[in-house]
Symmetry: D2
Subunit: 257 residues, 4 copies
């Protein structure tokens, strides 16, 4: 799996901050563009997020190329409707020869690697036989496994990314889309750390909705003295289990190394 940020709003943090300020100001863009300090950028972003003023985050946008994922994962991914997708079509781009690299889940890697390798091999042979019998690609692929690899280009704005991360960084998300989410997070944090400072699974997002002093995902991953006010997360994990649950979620990255 390869997740790469291939394009994004270069000055996205400033754009979000200026837009946010312009809703309260009578002055125009040029004035704010010239006068806004780095500190102000941080404050406007922080206030927008912590008061649920999400719409301004839509002005900063990110395009990822996500390569070598299964069609199980791509099917889940495209269910996020406030986003743009361009997917490798198996109608036109045959996954044959060295391009046939179906995905093996960690749970299978450990227990049943031979079975899945045989399964993927058989599926490939059957696919090829269908092609040789004159069946068109778009129909032959019905016998390809759900785990078959695909590539997809995805564009999401920062608001939708907050929503995507809330759902997919959660340990209840399936391992593959969860791994994609953690990798996307690494990418956007590198370029816009202030904008993605308060990102997290729903347990953290919801906690910050109701709490005076916000906590961050980094706090939760690094410190041991974080206490949640929430009695439970929305998925049903009780207060005491939440920290461990978040850390478990991230372990998927280690497997992939």
């Amino acid at each position: 799996m390869n997740v790469k940020l291939v394009s994004y709003t270069r000055d996205g943090e400033k754009v979000v901050a200026i837009a946010s300020k312009m809703s309260r100001s009578r002055k125009g863009w040029d004035y704010h563009e010239k006068t806004m300090t780095d500190e102000e950028i941080e404050v406007w972003i922080r206030d927008a997020i912590l008061h649920g003023y999400w719409s301004v985050l839509e002005h900063s946008i990110y395009t990822f190329s996500i390569e070598g994922i299964s069609r199980v994962a791509s099917h889940q991914l495209v269910r996020h409707r406030i986003a743009s997708y361009t997917q490798m079509s198996h109608r036109f781009a045959k996954p044959i020869d060295e391009y046939y690299k179906p995905i093996t889940p960690p749970s299978v890697e450990k227990r049943a690697k031979e079975i899945i390798e045989k399964a993927y091999q058989e599926a490939y042979e059957n696919y090829f036989k269908l092609l040789q019998d004159g069946v068109p690609e778009e129909d032959a692929r019905y016998v390809l496994p759900n785990g078959v690899n695909t590539n997809i280009v995805v564009t999401m704005n920062a608001r939708e990314l907050y929503n995507f991360f809330a759902l997919r960084l959660c340990s209840r998300a399936q391992w593959e889309i969860r791994a994609i989410a953690w990798k996307m997070l690494e990418e956007v944090k590198k370029v816009h750390p202030r904008l993605f400072r308060y990102v997290g699974p729903n347990c953290i997002i919801h906690e910050n909705f109701i709490r005076n002093e916000p906590i961050t995902l980094d706090d939760v991953l690094q410190k041991d003295n974080i206490e949640f006010i929430s009695q439970r997360c929305i998925e049903g994990v009780m207060r005491d289990g939440i920290l461990k649950c978040i850390r478990n979620s991230k372990h998927v990255l280690e497997y992939l190394k």
Copy 2:
């Protein structure tokens, strides 16, 4: 494959017509509700569609249960983002025993039925072995074929249906989603014939954008003297080939009987 309209805006045609009239009138809903005649309903709907005033069509909404389709088709279906979906999850609802009924494409049915049956059988056995080895359902399904059957509940409004039909009634659409589209069309035409009178693949939609007297899909399917003004359809089929192309598209329904 089973496509059933399970819920819809009962008075959808009237709702669309009243909304359309209210944009031009100072009177309220009650007045129009009481006074609008059947003829008026027809005129307001027709005018809205033929002048591209699409937004009023959003007030009439349709829910389908689409059962026994492949995950190839469901993956294409959910790419239509202005719609609502609830899909049978293979994480929770195992497609085993009599519930394992993968889809066989027509092109394979004719040429290579044995190969696909063997392929589907092998995939099933491998899936079962993974389950027996303790692999969770959500991971074992990586070896299930793309053709594996699923059910999905879909809600679309009439405007999005016009767009969906424009793309998916076209002979360039893959046979399975094309068959779904033709069946959805049969369902909505039964209940709202006036609202879906001008539906068609893009060649017909685009022709009516630029033509004085509109043509309908029924005209094209039943009459031989329809002449297109369009030089080509957007997919590149030239004027002379369009009629035949549309009729070919519908043939998929015959295979499925």
Copy 3:
């Protein structure tokens, strides 16, 4: 102001419950349609909402005719993008004679009724003069006041309504759109009490995200022993003030009587 539910998914609660169940079941719509009990409907709806499984709520849809509101309010309303709107056009439907009924805010009613009446009268006269000088309606309306009355047809699904209510039942929302929201709530609760049982301003929605035993808006309005776990609401109201804040929000309805 007149807010009327003019069309909706008759069996919306059952549709939501069946869709929700179908995501977990291998059986089709017909089976669930025949076998689902009223108790089951309640449980599936409740579980969907309390675990944030919002997407199934999109299958139940509501159309309102909202009449006699200002363009201040309609401008705020149409900012909710996951909805469908058809608005009375002042380009075509002149707000003259008895149709000119601009809205007077409660705060002005009490303090400065004469000023606003004079202002509205002057604006009307200037508008008329422009029309008489041959200025087209669409340009003459530039001098009409923001408070000028309009009608709008709005369609939203139950999920978007939860979001709309979360923002607009809040006492921080402007009084007019807040009044619209409270009236829309009355309408939908009459027809689908189970589906809208957990609706509320964000303080209640967020509280239920993190709490074992959910509270309802009715609880908050009627009982005195409700205790919030939340330290603050997202708008910054502290725990002790939340109950009073919610009740204040609803007072707008009394003014309008």
Copy 4:
């Protein structure tokens, strides 16, 4: 009125072209990024647009600051739902002193300038009186004219821009939003001429859907030998009138100078 492109996808044309190519290719982003020539970029963009493969255009995004427009125009603008908006709030940013600059339509400028100036002055005075009487800003603004000036930050992707231009470059669009559209077009053409080469009002878009050799807006504005195949445009203008109609539409820019 001031329309400024304040942020956009720098390499947007290449991003669109690569995404488009990746749907047909088994290779990843890096390969295409390194190998794609300028000629290829042009071909992939052209093919996408002329065959209605619009979704790839969503990966290139544009943010405008639109300043000094009326609330008539902003109300129309925000009806385009596939976009992001941040608007100056008259709840918080009072349009007083030198910031009160309501918009005068061209038709009024010519005929009835004194009336509108008086109207705007009276409205301002009434607004001020309400403020002085203790009416909050958010309610006092009910007497402000529809023509009152506002600023708005707008983000749209290239696909939505094509749709926006199709509707708003048309001479049937109201003069102010039409002027905004022509100015937005100037901005995006400067930075991405290849991506916006086929933009135009619906008459041109629809003509190119059905025509072998595409025409462009520049052709129509500069050449006299352009012949339409369309019998009429979707708004009802007959073939012979279309060219003149398009040129008339653009005249709005001259008034604004």
